[in-house]
Symmetry: C2
Subunit: 280 residues, 2 copies
């Protein structure tokens, strides 16, 4: 089922890296799980962190600085890869398409459809594996966050599954793939030219089409070089305002698109989710 | 003098990476500096972090999780490289000798003597550059720490220069290069076979020979695979007990030799130094 690649004690808990043969993607998939210190019979809420373009499970594990906050709040953090990888898996020379750029969609176009099924993988297959392999994970209390492309993933997955992901936040998310170069390229490539098929993968379109969550936290660096062309948090603000969704967008002066930005505000996001995932 | 390779806002301060042409090593040397948020006229204490075998300036910058604590305590952190590097610089195929393994000595053996001058570099040249280029750095208040080979560097540099480095700590340090395979290999290679020449580069020997500091903090993981053969904290405990140096060794159950160990206890070390580097 699942192979343990490494475990290491951190902040009183265990940072592990695991691998399994994914039915969804048809490849081996690697992911990271941090389990904080806990009582033997404890059941802990789960926070998903979806990473951005080019990342694997390792980027946030190495640079995200989430373990201290997760240990403090008693939250499990899971970091999947951003796409299937390996020989025999289609790829593209660009950094923003193909391997490392799965965009959290189920591709319908060739040659991507067979492996690029990151929606199914993150929404269904990996949660089922976590439930089976990590008995302390309380899958009735899941939250989701992510960075950039992974912020897009977090927002769209939460909006499509508000009963399963009870809290959502994002770091510098792509809020509207229909209206930015990264999104238009990826969705054209994975889903084909009919933009109606893209709306399930666009947070603003999902909201316009009726999807709802209770509230959203977004941090966005003002010195982020992708802000104006790719990220466009104002589009999310407009969509949430029209829909009555409580959105907090914090513009952070001086911060760029890097893990220095993410790690700085990680404690706030872990606390945001922990508060919403406390047992009722 | 100094070239800025990158800067990025983090925890309200600035994480920078810089490069300069070193006179000591005869090479370009890269280092990282984190300057915490501070008042315009503030003068801040400086903490050096010396890294272990194979590391560059980047390992602790990426994985050390020091910025939050440095911002909280108002401490500048500087992470040098562990050796000269590049074409034309002697090297060895082993991970524990040559480039990435400078051992914080001034080599006397050939072909190492021309470039492997990390003692001079860390003790003299880089502090002078920092003083010139970072006006907020109060060089009368320097502390030093490090990991493994870098813990050896921190201990020996502090013991040789107690007036310049007012606080010292270490993570899983090599405490006695005279009595472990890593140390014997490196000191033989860089200094030659006369073990009397090694004593200035062995914390326990320095203490036996009369060097003193006020107190030392050491954290050591009990699950560290290098503990018994290479690190041997009991030798430092014996040396400090005989010399009347106040040593705190914290054996940490479950922790290995990785940055998961370092990052977990980094806040305690930053606080240890901050307390000792407060303006009198």
């Amino acid at each position: 089922m699942m192979e343990t690649l490494s475990t290491s004690t951190a902040f009183g808990g265990t940072q592990g890296v695991y691998c399994h043969a994914s039915t969804a993607t048809g490849t081996d998939m690697t992911f990271a799980v941090y389990v904080p210190p806990h009582a033997p019979d404890a059941r802990l809420p789960v926070l998903w962190f979806l990473s951005g373009l080019t990342c694997t499970h390792a980027n946030v594990m190495d640079k995200g600085e989430y373990r201290r906050a997760c240990a403090e709040h008693g939250v499990i953090l899971i970091a999947p890869d951003t796409s299937p990888r390996g020989e025999g898996v289609p790829d593209d020379d660009a950094y923003d398409f193909g391997q490392g750029a799965g965009f959290y969609v189920d591709a319908t176009e060739q040659p991507w459809a067979a492996n690029f099924t990151m929606k199914r993988y993150v929404e269904d297959e990996l949660p089922a594996l976590i439930a089976a392999e990590f008995p302390m994970a309380d899958m009735t209390r899941q939250g989701i966050t992510g960075h950039s492309m992974g912020g897009h993933g977090a927002l769209t997955i939460a909006l499509r599954n508000p009963d399963r992901f009870r809290s959502v936040s994002a770091f510098a998310p792509i809020v509207a793939p229909l209206h930015c170069p990264w999104g238009e390229k990826a969705l054209t490539g994975y889903l084909g030219p009919d933009r109606a098929d893209w709306r399930a993968y666009d947070a603003c379109a999902l909201i316009a089409d009726g999807a709802r969550v209770a509230d959203i936290l977004v941090d966005q660096g003002e010195a982020d070089g992708f802000l104006d062309e790719q990220l466009k948090p104002a589009l999310l603000a407009d969509a949430c305002a029209a829909a009555g969704i409580e959105l907090t967008v914090r513009m952070q002066p001086g911060y760029d698109h890097s893990y220095n930005f993410i790690s700085t505000f990680m404690p706030d996001h872990v606390a945001w989710h922990a508060e919403r995932l406390r047992r009722a």
